[in-house]
Symmetry: C2
Subunit: 441 residues, 2 copies
């Protein structure tokens, strides 16, 4: 257990120093065990495992562009994103791992205790089994606090989900020691979330699912005020959107995903927007496998993910957006107020500007409750960081909202996150930063 962030800083700097990594951008034909398959031209691993990059044709009535082609990551297998926690002197402590991913800014970020695809833990690549796996596979070893399948980026992954799981072990149970693991309290994690790119996406999504009763933030005892909308009305709004929006996705050969261009070392959209597919060679000294090559997605622009929040009857409410994304498992998920990841949000033409983008960008400093840069998953995305903001609604914030927006209380969001494919990964990862102290600021 560590007792202050000074100790953490020393440990973290040490983790960076004592491991060596090297990442090189390579041409696709230099990929080992990866290649474009003969039949569809999709980029796949020779084992058929891990993930592949395929083409899709999308049709939808949910936005002004009603059909397009794009590359997407297809990763049908469900992996574990899991924390082991224990209570020490009444406070939950989370076992975090200093984990290297090839796409990470500064290589190492703090990950959950276990972060493993099924290919990892069934050992397709012949490496060592990930530490602590057995605690998650045999749940009689621990008490389950969180256990749900949660979606990942719908714009980039085809219906991908991971098992977000938190298990609590008894205080007196001693785990094997490892220099790459550290116990942190929620308070410490929240402090680190204010820094850029320290807590990785996988840790953020799992932490966001923690039910309020296990959080040890100091929340004043109070009567629960009625939320602005009942959960019934929110679910009805959600059902209405799922019926209103069509989403049809058909896989197509990657080589036919016009107007995307395949060059020897990148696949890109001629507009310069969205992302590029690239290939990298990785050398690392602390992964199950020491050297490998793989494809990564490289974003073309910095994106922004933001919530507008306001108090209603003493309860914080977040402005949620019902958003259709090509890879969504169930048409619509609840996204943050602003989620603008595809182009340069500072230069969007007036007619295409997403609702509330300007409100979030122009907010005065006293209404900005949270503002940092956070990374997307470094195992699939190359140095992707997005601006993360939480902004308090001003007194003149519009009462009338577009049909696909609704105010949802924090308690309701926690309730909704118990179920699959309701709150999207961008919303979850940003909600993870929310504490009573942050909202009281």
């Amino acid at each position: 257990m560590i007792f202050n962030l000074g100790q953490f800083n020393l440990w973290f700097a040490d983790r960076m120093r004592c491991h060596s990594f090297d990442i090189q951008h390579i041409a696709f034909d230099k990929l080992e065990k990866w290649g474009f398959d003969d039949r569809f031209g999709n980029l796949r691993h020779t084992s058929g495992k891990f993930f592949s990059i395929e083409g899709i044709h999308v049709e939808t009535n949910s936005q002004s562009l009603t059909n397009w082609n794009q590359p997407i990551i297809n990763q049908p297998e469900v992996g574990f994103l899991g924390f082991i926690v224990k209570r020490v002197e009444g406070k939950l402590h989370f076992l975090m791992q200093a984990k290297m991913e090839p796409g990470n800014i500064s290589f190492i970020q703090l990950a959950p205790t276990l972060q493993a695809t099924r290919s990892n833990y069934t050992r397709v690549h012949q490496g060592a089994a990930p530490p602590f796996l057995e605690y998650f596979r045999d749940r009689r070893k621990a008490k389950v606090l969180v256990d749900s399948l949660q979606s990942e980026q719908g714009g980039r992954f085809l219906r991908k989900r991971n098992r977000n799981i938190i298990i609590e072990i008894p205080e007196d149970e001693i785990l094997p020691e490892s220099e790459d693991f550290i116990w942190l309290t929620l308070e410490q994690i929240h402090e680190l979330l204010r820094r850029d790119n320290v807590i990785n996406m996988d840790a953020r999504t799992v932490l966001s699912c923690l039910p309020p009763e296990f959080s040890d933030s100091v929340e004043p005892e109070k009567d629960e005020g009625a939320p602005m909308h009942s959960l019934r009305d929110i679910l009805s709004w959600f059902t209405e959107l799922k019926c209103k929006y069509d989403l049809s996705v058909r896989t197509i050969p990657l080589g036919e995903a016009d107007p995307w261009v395949i060059e020897p070392d990148r696949i890109f959209h001629p507009s310069g927007n969205f992302f590029e597919v690239i290939a990298v060679r990785v050398e690392a000294d602390n992964r199950e496998v020491r050297a490998w090559t793989q494809p990564l997605l490289k974003p073309c622009r910095e994106g922004i993910i933001a919530f507008v929040v306001k108090d209603y009857e003493g309860e914080p409410h977040f402005l949620m957006q019902g958003k259709v994304e090509a890879g969504n498992f169930d048409i619509v998920e609840m996204a943050p107020t602003v989620q603008c990841l595809t182009g340069d949000y500072r230069r969007v033409a007036d007619e295409d500007r997403p609702a509330f983008l300007d409100f979030v960008l122009d907010a005065t400093s006293e209404s900005v409750l949270f503002d940092s840069r956070q990374s997307e998953e470094g195992g699939r995305f190359y140095r992707e960081e997005n601006r993360n903001r939480i902004v308090r609604a001003s007194a003149d914030f519009p009462e009338m909202l577009p049909d696909n927006f609704i105010w949802v209380s924090l308690r309701q969001l926690k309730e909704l996150m118990r179920f699959n494919n309701v709150v999207n990964v961008q919303a979850r990862c940003l909600l993870c930063a929310v504490t009573p102290e942050l909202l009281a600021a």
Copy 2:
């Protein structure tokens, strides 16, 4: 409003008498506007709307038969199954429709106020708009009590869902009168559920979603006992099953769905099990269209759907089965204790007998709380009725359960039914029959 079932009986007999219907089994080449398409040999409507019958290849690790081909109904569009209700002298009354469907036993059954596919209400077949549609399309006209997408038979439909919706109108609002509609209380509906094949499947699934606070059954005031398992543990069990079971479904040409045989007037499995695809000509005097032809699925055997129920801390608990079916939207849904629809349940070989089938069949009459025959959807299934039973667990009922079974309280089931694709249609339709009086028997 009617005040006793005697009046209902007269009205219902009258509905049967004053309409005329005729159904004839025809060869596929006598279908009008339906045919086998050139490319895949699937059975489709020329408009591309309504539904189609396609082939699928299924692979799964969830049962002893790990892969097979089968025909399945593909109906991607979401329809409305909706009730208008109003409170009269404090009691909820449901507006039910005497509705003819070609596959119905005795033609007419009681349906929800509105039962319409999107093709129906966007009027692909050029008929009249269904009555009361506008109340459901513009929800400002009413208060929403239920509104969720719920699944249909996973063994027969490919990921089909319908919008189950109940809206309440003010007591003083007068609706246009129609001889085919009648207001019934929940109590009256429950009484009619004890009769065979009166309340149709669509009505049963919607009624099952009614939250307990709107039910006016006399439920004794009591402290809520803790359920046997927390909702967290139930959801974790559910997540575990979704990760444990693989389900891969690929559409294939219907003509390649070996060993299914296509004859001029039926498609069948050589074992004589499962179902047949047939074609019918329908003449009716009270539908939007007066005569038409369509395919139907005809079951080969009577099936059984049953719950084992027991009290725990004064709260009824149902034994739920996590079940994989080929057409499931999300791998696993919670099914009744016994769901045996594919072969003759009275003649299943010992090694293939589903868990608890014998317990349910051999139950003594005092432990059988509910026993009737109920129909599946007559718009798709030809005279399919299944035995519906609820049986009280005996004192020596096994404590140890197979991994895919769990006890869930009635309150928890109602909570789970607020979300999509959790509780399957067979479980919902049987839960619809449960009342405190029934459980107290």
